[in-house]
C-alpha cells in the first residue's frame, strides 16, 4: 500500500497461556481512517494497546512480532516516544480529575515536561478545543474541573488532549460507546473533520459509524484478521462469510 504509516508483522499477543492475537499482518494507510470491527473479545483493544505499548503495564501480557511506525520498529523505540507519536482515546472518558479543562488539554505538554509560553499554551488549547467542537461550550469556564463536564464533553476533551500533541496516529477504542446518540454524532462529525489531517484507527461496533467515517475496514475474528479492504467493499461485497454474517447481524 502506498503511504503506509503503520505495519504489523506477525503480531501475536498473549495473556499467560491465552493467545489472543494470532499473527496479524496488516498495513495502515497514512491520513486514512481505518475501522476495526469484529465480535466482542476478538482482540481489537489488545491490538491497539500493542501499538501504543500499553501492554507493558500488564505483567502477564506478551507481545511478539513486529510493528513498524513508518520504517521504525516500535519495540526498539523508547516507549515514551512511541506514545507521543501515537495518541490514544479510550473507551471511557478519562480526563485527569485533578486538572482543569485547560490543564487537561495542555497536559500532554506538561506531563512531558515541555515548557511553553502562556500565549503558546492559550493558542494550543483554543485550537485543540475548536477542532473537537468543544470550544464554544467551555471557553468561559476553562478553569473548571474537567470532571464537571458531561460524559460526551469529557470524551471530546480527551480527544482534544490527544489532538493537541499533534500525533501521527490516533487510536480510538470505541470512543462513543459510553455516549448518547447526540454526543456520538458530534464525535463522528469531528472524526470526519480530522480525516485527511490525521491517521485514525477506530474500533467500533457501530456499522453506520464505520461506514460513514472510515476509508478502510478490518474485520477480526478470534484474534485473526479475516477481511481487510475498502470500507465500501467490505460492507457491500464482503468476501468472507463470517464478515457477511456479522455485517448482516446474524452473529456477533
Amino acid at each position: 500500500m502506498e503511504g503506509t504509516i503503520l505495519r504489523t508483522e506477525n503480531l501475536r499477543v498473549s495473556f499467560g497461556d491465552n493467545l489472543v492475537v494470532k499473527g496479524i499482518n496488516m498495513e495502515i494507510g497514512e491520513k486514512k481512517v481505518t475501522a476495526f470491527m469484529g465480535p466482542s473479545g476478538c482482540g481489537k483493544t489488545t491490538i491497539l494497546r500493542a501499538i501504543n505499548r500499553l501492554h507493558e503495564l500488564t505483567p502477564e501480557a506478551k507481545v511478539e512480532g513486529k510493528i513498524f511506525l513508518h520504517s521504525e520498529n516500535i519495540n526498539e523505540m523508547e516507549a515514551m516516544t512511541v506514545r507521543r507519536r501515537v495518541g490514544m482515546v479510550f473507551q471511557r472518558p478519562n480526563p485527569f480529575p485533578t486538572m482543569s479543562i485547560y490543564e487537561n488539554v495542555i497536559s500532554g505538554f506538561t506531563l512531558n515536561g515541555i515548557k511553553l509560553k502562556t500565549d503558546e499554551k492559550n493558542h494550543i488549547v483554543e485550537d485543540a478545543l475548536k477542532k473537537v467542537a468543544l470550544w464554544d461550550e467551555v471557553k468561559d469556564h476553562l478553569k473548571k474541573r474537567a470532571t464537571s463536564l458531561s460524559g460526551g464533553q469529557q470524551q471530546r476533551l480527551c480527544l482534544a488532549r490527544a489532538v493537541a500533541m499533534k500525533p501521527e496516529v490516533i487510536l480510538l477504542d470505541e470512543p462513543t460507546s459510553a455516549l448518547d446518540p447526540l454526543s456520538t454524532a458530534k464525535i463522528e462529525d469531528l472524526l470526519y473533520e480530522l480525516k485527511g489531517n490525521y491517521t485514525l484507527i477506530i474500533v467500533t461496533h457501530n456499522m453506520q459509524q464505520a461506514a460513514r467515517i472510515s476509508d478502510m475496514t478490518a474485520f477480526f475474528y478470534l484474534g485473526e484478521l479475516l477481511e481487510y479492504d475498502d470500507t465500501k467493499k467490505v460492507f457491500t461485497n464482503p468476501k468472507n462469510e463470517k464478515t457477511q454474517n456479522y455485517i448482516t447481524g446474524r452473529f456477533g
Partner: protein, 285 residues
C-alpha cells in the same frame, strides 16, 4: 403462605430488632466513653491553662507557677522533624506497594509494615537508644524524632497504598498514553489524585506519635530549659505530663492537666483538619 413461614418471619424480625438495638447500644457506649474522658480532661485542665503555661519554662522544684514552654517547643520540634523524615519515606514505600502488588518483595514489605505497627513503642525507643544515643554518647531531640518517625511509617504507608490502588488504572494509562514518563505520571497524576488520602495518612501518623512518651524516654530524654538545638535533649508535652502527674506536688498536677488539654486539643484539631481536607480534596473520577 404457610404458618411456618410467618413464624420464621417473626423470628427474624425479633432478631433484627435485637441486633439493631445492640449496635445502637454499643455505638452509644463508645461515644459516651469518649465524651466522658474529654469532659473530665477539660474540666480538670481548662482552669489550669494560663498564659504562664505557654510562655514560661518550669520553675524549680517546690516553687509554684511556671509553665511548659520548653516542652511545647520540644514537642513541635521532635514531631515536625519526625514528620519530615517519615513522610517522604512512607509515601514512597506506599507508592511502591501500590505499584507492585502481588510481587514477592512487596508482600514482604507489607508484612514488615504490619509487624512494625505492632512493635511496642518502648521497644523502638530502646532500639534507637542502642543505635544512636549510645554511640553518640548523648540524648538528643533528633534521636527522639527518628524513633517517632519509625512509628509514623505504618499509617502513612498504608494510607498511601490504599488510596493509590483505588485510583482507576485508566488514569495512569491516560497519562502514559500521552508519552509521559512513569515518574511524572506518578508525581503529576497519581499523587494529586490521591492527595486527600495520603495527607490524612500523614496527619493520622502525627496524631499517633504526638502523645507518645515511651520512645522518648531514652532518646529526647527531657530538658527543663528551652532548647532549639536538635543535637541536645528536649522536653516534650507527654513527657512533662508523665513526670508531673507522677510527682507529689499539687501545682505540678495542675500543669499536667493543662498539658493534657493542650495535647488533646491538638489531636482534635488534627482530626478536624483531616475531615476538612478529605471533603475538600475529594477527587471525583
Amino acid at each position: 403462605m404457610t404458618p411456618y413461614d410467618i413464624q420464621g418471619l417473626q423470628g427474624r424480625r425479633v432478631k433484627d430488632r435485637i441486633f439493631t438495638s445492640l449496635v445502637w447500644g454499643l455505638t452509644f457506649s463508645c461515644l459516651a466513653v469518649v465524651f466522658i474522658i474529654l469532659f473530665y480532661i477539660f474540666e480538670k485542665g481548662i482552669g489550669s491553662l494560663n498564659w504562664a503555661i505557654f510562655s514560661q519554662n518550669p520553675k524549680p522544684v517546690g516553687e509554684n507557677g511556671g509553665g511548659m514552654l520548653n516542652a511545647i517547643v520540644g514537642s513541635l520540634m521532635v514531631v515536625s522533624i519526625a514528620a519530615i523524615l517519615a513522610i517522604p519515606v512512607g509515601v514512597s514505600v506506599g507508592i511502591y506497594l501500590a505499584e507492585n502488588r502481588g510481587r514477592k518483595l512487596s508482600d514482604r514489605i507489607a508484612l514488615a509494615v504490619d509487624v512494625l505497627q505492632g512493635i511496642p513503642s518502648i521497644v523502638i525507643g530502646i532500639v534507637i537508644y542502642v543505635w544512636i544515643v549510645k554511640p553518640t554518647g548523648k540524648f538528643s531531640s533528633y534521636s527522639g524524632s527518628i524513633a517517632l518517625a519509625i512509628m509514623m511509617l505504618p499509617p502513612i504507608i498504608k494510607n498511601t497504598e490504599e488510596t493509590l490502588i483505588l485510583i482507576p488504572t485508566t488514569l495512569k494509562e491516560a497519562s502514559l498514553a500521552l508519552g509521559a514518563s512513569y515518574f511524572r505520571t506518578t508525581m503529576k497524576v497519581m499523587l494529586p489524585a490521591g492527595i486527600g488520602g495520603i495527607f490524612s495518612g500523614c496527619i493520622i501518623g502525627i496524631a499517633r506519635i504526638a502523645g507518645e512518651v515511651a520512645p522518648l524516654l531514652f532518646t529526647a530524654f527531657g530538658n527543663p530549659a528551652l532548647n532549639f538545638n536538635i543535637l541536645k535533649p528536649v522536653d516534650t508535652i507527654p513527657k512533662v505530663i508523665f513526670t508531673y502527674a507522677s510527682s507529689p506536688y499539687d501545682d505540678w498536677h495542675r500543669i499536667a492537666w493543662g498539658g493534657s488539654v493542650i495535647l488533646v486539643s491538638f489531636i482534635i484539631l488534627l482530626n478536624t483538619i483531616i475531615k476538612i481536607f478529605e471533603s475538600r480534596w475529594k477527587v471525583q473520577f
